[in-house]
C-alpha cells in the first residue's frame, strides 16, 4: 500500500536518511525503530509530505505521491498521528473531532452549511464524533477543554483525530510516548485492532510494544536501515544487538 524506494535526505553535509526503502502492506504493522537522531522523524516527515526527499520515490495507493502536499496525501487516505501532541488545546474535546469530521464528510455540504449554519447544531456530526470518542472511552466530558485532559487522554484523542478522516494507512509517531503502563496496554490493544483494516507504519521506543505488535521491523541507525525482518529475525540479528538493543 505504501512503498518507499531509495529515499535520501540530507541537511547540509549531514545525511538524515540514506537510501531508505521499505514497504507497508495492508493489514500489516511495519515498525521503525532506532536510537534518537537516527532519522525516524525525518522519514515520517517525508512520507507525510512536510519535507521533500532529495532523491527517491514514495508510492501510495497506486500513485507516485513524492511531490504531493500533506493535504493531498491525507485525501488519498494517509492519516498521521503526531509525535508531540498537536491538538487544538483551546477548543473542546468534541470540537477537536468535529474539525477532521467536517473535512472527511465535506462533500455533502452546501454554501449555507459552510458559511451560515452553526456546526454545533449539526446532530449527525455530533453523533459521529461521540461514537468515535466512546470507542476510546473519551466521551465522559465532550465539552471539556482539551488542555484539561491528562497526557494519556490527549494521546488517545490524538488517535481519534487521526482516525476521523478514515484513512487506510496510518503513520503512528510514538503513540505510546509518556503513557502509563495501563494506558499503553490499551493503546496496544487498539493498534492491534486497527491492523484489521489499516496499513500501519509504527515508530515507537517501547520495545515491548514493538515486538508485540509488528509484523516487520526495520532498524534505522544513523540514517540507514541496518536490518529489516520479522521480530524474531531482528531479535537474533547481531548487528542490531550491537548497534541498538544491546545499549538499552
Amino acid at each position: 500500500m505504501l512503498e518507499i524506494t531509495h529515499i535520501t535526505k540530507h541537511f547540509g553535509g549531514v545525511f538524515a536518511n540514506r537510501d531508505i526503502s521499505l514497504c507497508v502492506e495492508a493489514q500489516q504493522i511495519h515498525a521503525l525503530i532506532g536510537p534518537n537522531g537516527a532519522g525516524k522523524s525525518t522519514l515520517i516527515a517525508q512520507i507525510s509530505g512536510e519535507l521533500k526527499p532529495d532523491s527517491g520515490r514514495i508510492r501510495f495507493a497506486q500513485r507516485d505521491i513524492t511531490h504531493f502536499t500533506p493535504e493531498r496525501r491525507n485525501r488519498l487516505g494517509m492519516g498521521r498521528m503526531f509525535q508531540t501532541t498537536a491538538l487544538f488545546n483551546e477548543l473542546s474535546v468534541l470540537d477537536n473531532i468535529r474539525i477532521p469530521l467536517l473535512r472527511s464528510t465535506a462533500r455533502r455540504y452546501s454554501i449555507s452549511d459552510w458559511f451560515y449554519k452553526a456546526v454545533e447544531s449539526d446532530s449527525s456530526i455530533r453523533k459521529t464524533a461521540l461514537t468515535m470518542l466512546e470507542k476510546l472511552g473519551l466521551d465522559h466530558h465532550p465539552d471539556q477543554l482539551v488542555a484539561a485532559l491528562s497526557h494519556g487522554e490527549q494521546r488517545q484523542l490524538e488517535m481519534v483525530m487521526t482516525l476521523a478522516t478514515s484513512p487506510g494507512c496510518l503513520l503512528l509517531d510514538e503513540p505510546m510516548a509518556g503513557m502509563s503502563s495501563e494506558e499503553s496496554a490499551r493503546m496496544i490493544k487498539l493498534i492491534r485492532c486497527l491492523k484489521n483494516d489499516h496499513a500501519i507504519l509504527l515508530v515507537e521506543h517501547d520495545m515491548h510494544a514493538v515486538f508485540d505488535l509488528a509484523d516487520t521491523i526495520s532498524v534505522l541507525v544513523e540514517g540507514s536501515i541496518i536490518a529489516s525482518g520479522t521480530p524474531d529475525e531482528i531479535r537474533r540479528n547481531a548487528a542490531v544487538q550491537a548497534a541498538y538493543l544491546g545499549t538499552r
Binding site: 507525510s48 509530505g49 512536510e50 502536499t69 500533506p70 493535504e71 493531498r72 491525507n74 485525501r75 492519516g79 498521521r80 503526531f82 498537536a86 491538538l87 487544538f88 488545546n89 483551546e90 477548543l91 473542546s92 470540537d95 468535529r98 474539525i99 477532521p100 467536517l102 473535512r103 472527511s104 465535506a106 455540504y109 452549511d113 459552510w114 458559511f115 451560515y116 449554519k117 452553526a118 456546526v119 454545533e120 466530558h141 465539552d143 471539556q144 477543554l145 484539561a148 483525530m161 476521523a164 478522516t165
Partner: protein
Amino acid sequence: MKFPLKTSIILFVLMLLILGLLPFASIIGLNAFYLDLAIRLMIFAIAATGLNLILGYGGFISLGHAAFLLVGAYSVAIPNYYDIDNGWFHLGLAVVCSALFALLTGAVSLRTRGGSFIMITLAFAQMIYFLFVSMETFGGSDGISISFTSDFGLFNLGDTLYLYYFTFGMLLALSGLIYRLNRSRFGYVLTGSRLQPRRMHALGYSPFRFQLGAYVVSGTITGIAGFLLANFVQFISPEMMDWFRSAELIFMVALGGAATLSGPLFGAFSFVVLEHIMSEWTLYWHLPFGLFLIAIAVFSKGGLVKLLNHRSRRKPDA
C-alpha cells in the same frame, strides 16, 4: 466552540441598546456632539470588526487595514468628483474595490507569516497611500471634500440621523455576519488553521483558501467603514488613513479582545472615549493613553473581554 452567557455578551447587548437609543436622548437635550462621537465610535468598531476576522480568528497581524479605509473612502470621493451621488454606487464600489484589493494583496501576503506578514501588508498599504497622494486630480495630499454624500433615494447619508442609523445597522449586520461565520464550518477551519496549521494540513485541509476568504471578507468590512467615514467627515485626505491608523485598529482589537465578538466594539469604545476624555484633560494625552494600553496588555492578554469574564471563567467548564 461554546458560547455561554458571559458578562461580556451582556455588556455587548447593553451597549448596542444604548447606541440604538442614543438619538432619542438628543431629542430631550443631549448635546449633538455625542451623536458624532457615537458615529465615530461605531465606524471604528466596524473597521475593527473587519480586522478582527483576520487578526483575531485568522491569526494574521495586518498592519495595512487603513488601506481598506482609504479604498472605501475614495469610493465615495472619486464618484463625487464626477458628480455621482448614488449611494448604491458608492457602497457597491467600496465593496467591490476593497474585496478586489484584499484578494490581490492577500494572495501574495498570506503566503508569509508573522513579522513578514506585518511588513508586507504595511508595504501594500503604503503603496495605496502614495497612490492617492499622487493623484492630483482627486486632491492629492491636500485631500478632497465630499460635496455629494451618498444618496440612497429614500435617505441621504448627509443627514446625521440617517447616517447614525445606517452605521448602527451596518454594525449590527456585520457583527451578526461575523457571529454566524465564526460558528460555521468556515469559522471552524479558520480557527483550526490558526491554532494548529500543521495538523490542518495533515487532516487534508488547505488553510490558505480559508485564510484568503477571511482576508477578503475582513478587508471588505473595513472598506465599508471607509465608505461610512467619508460620509461622516465629508472631507478626506490620505493622511487621515496612514499606517498609524492601521496600528490604532490593531490597538482597538487587542484592547477589546481578539477573536471575540464584542471585542472590536469594546476596543473602539474605549479608544474613542478615552481619547476624548484624555485630550480634554491634557494636551499630552498620548502618554496616559499609552500607559493604559500597556496596563491592559500586561494585566489581561485577552483584552477587556477576558477581564470582564474573569470571574465567570473560574467556574469549571463541564
